[in-house]
């Protein structure tokens, strides 16, 4: 689990977009999973994107689909039949605490609930890498903590690499991991921030 921080406008989102292949470099080289993305054709991008789960600050759920269908979306894109994944998706929604909101549409979900659906959607294909862009930016602090616990569990249980961009310093402090800091076009690795105030053991 790695955090990416930096002042607003430093280019965190752009860097992440390059990483999750929403943007391709106009100059220079971006290598993902050892592949130079600027050399890939449109067709070759899709398999690479499937190895990355993305969580957005603004959730980006499809409004006309239920929570269950939103989580199942990547599996549908892969052409899997509903019978093969149904139980897994329900299990996953239970894990994020939405076992009773399977049929709810995004309009009826709170911000925190939406983000948990989005997390479940990013995880459902068991990607090699999960990228989250300000995942706690639109939820309150308590929900932020809850989401963070989900990330940590994800990191430990599935052994998935997480790259989280945030300027929520409280979140970074709790993680106690190294932080990548982006400023003036340079990414610098800084050691885990030392906690000023003692943290109660979880």
């Amino acid at each position: 689990m790695t955090f990416l921080t930096g002042p607003s406008g430093a280019g965190k989102s752009t860097l992440l977009k390059l990483a999750y292949l929403a943007l391709r470099p106009t100059a220079g080289r971006v290598s993902m999973f050892g592949v130079d993305t600027s050399r890939l054709s449109r067709k070759e991008l899709a398999p690479l994107r499937r190895r990355i789960g993305v969580i957005f600050q603004e959730f980006r759920l499809l409004d006309h689909l239920t929570a269950y269908e939103n989580v199942a979306l990547p599996l549908r894109v892969l052409g899997q039949h509903e019978k093969t994944y149904r139980d897994d998706v329900i299990e996953l929604l239970k894990w994020v605490g939405l076992g009773d909101r399977l049929d709810a549409r995004p309009a009826t979900l709170s911000g925190g609930e939406k983000q948990r659906v989005a997390i479940a959607r990013a995880v459902v294909v068991k990607p090699d890498l999960i990228i989250a862009d300000e995942p706690t930016g639109n939820v309150d602090e308590e929900m932020g903590d809850r989401l963070f616990r989900l990330f940590r569990e994800l990191n430990k249980r599935l052994n998935t690499t997480l790259l989280i961009a945030t300027h929520d310093l409280a979140l970074v402090r709790k993680a106690k991991t190294d932080v990548l800091r982006l400023a003036d076009g340079m990414v610098v690795r800084v050691p885990a921030p030392v906690d000023a105030s003692p943290v109660a053991p979880a």
């Binding site: 929403a22 689909l65 239920t66 979306l73 509903e82």
Partner: protein, 291 residues
């Protein structure tokens, strides 16, 4: 849990109703033009078949000359039959122009109705041979084998067919343009969704498939309704014509034959497939501009 998954492409009822109407109307017009063109062709064919081989000879002279002419015509090779028309029959021919009472003292031409054998009718030239034979016997007569008429009719129906074909072509092109436009609008309206699908790892063909299926169904359904309405309109015209019991020459003599059924049956399929292809081309072209 719901038994089935919602479609990935959300239904947009207002826009789709308008599109449905347009495709339906286009298909109706196209099917109707097809029907009209086909019936014009078959009516012309029927008429030409009827007159082919029929020869009318007008004799300028007395009854004796006419009787001689009949004998000469009968003796000519390839002529199956020949007979002089009675005065009553000639009057009957004039009735549409002169009314019921043709003056008794009106001089009428002496007419001979002859029929060439089908093989000779096909080969042509029977008229000229008759003309020559009558001239040789110094009978003043004019031979008309209706070939000039047949050619006129054929030219008229050919141009009617061409007009119908152009109309169908234009309607088809309009349909394609409308579908392409609607696809583009949907694509722009759902850009967020398309982007999300891309980031989820969807290939262009997957996204295009969503639109293709949607527009295939719309095209087939709207086309079927349009064809059904065209069938209704044709049946109505047929009914009205039959009621009037008029001799409707050449033009819309709709008969609703097998060929008509084919036109009606095929047009929804064509509408569906054309809609699908228009959607596919539009989506693939738009997607190649996106990341």
């Amino acid at each position: 849990m719901k038994p089935s998954l919602s479609p990935l492409l959300p239904k947009e009822d207002a826009r789709e109703a308008a599109l449905f109407f347009v495709v339906c109307a286009l298909c109706f017009l196209a099917a109707l033009s097809g029907l009209v063109a086909r019936s014009a062709y078959s009516a012309a064919d029927e008429w030409t078949d009827r007159v082919t081989g029929q020869i009318t000879i007008r004799v300028r002279g007395d009854d004796a000359a006419t009787a001689r002419a009949v004998a000469i015509v009968k003796a000519t090779p390839d002529i199956i039959s020949a007979r002089a028309l009675e005065r009553a029959e000639s009057e009957e021919l004039l009735r549409p122009w002169l009314g019921a009472a043709v003056p008794a003292d009106l001089p009428l031409p002496h007419l001979i109705a002859a029929e060439a054998s089908p093989s000779a009718a096909k080969a042509g030239g029977a008229g000229q041979r008759l003309s020559a034979a009558l001239k040789a016997a110094s009978i003043d007569a004019t031979v008309d084998d209706h070939i000039v008429w047949s050619k006129d009719v054929k030219r008229a129906t050919d141009s009617a067919g061409l007009v119908a074909l152009v109309a169908v072509g234009l309607l088809g092109a309009t349909g394609l343009a409308v579908i392409a436009f609607a696809t583009h609008a949907t694509l722009l309206a759902r850009r967020d969704m398309v982007e999300l699908l891309h980031l989820t790892g969807a290939k262009d063909t997957f996204i295009s498939g969503l639109f293709e299926r949607r527009f295939l169904m719309l095209g087939v359904q709207a086309g079927a309704l349009g064809a059904l309405l065209a069938f209704g309109a044709a049946a109505f015209i047929l009914f009205v014509v039959k009621q009037a019991d008029q001799q409707v020459w050449l033009l819309p003599q709709l008969s609703l034959s097998l060929a008509d059924g084919l036109i009606l049956g095929v047009s929804p399929l064509v509408a569906g497939i054309a809609s699908m292809l228009a959607a596919k081309v539009t989506v693939m072209r738009s997607l190649s501009d996106m990341v």
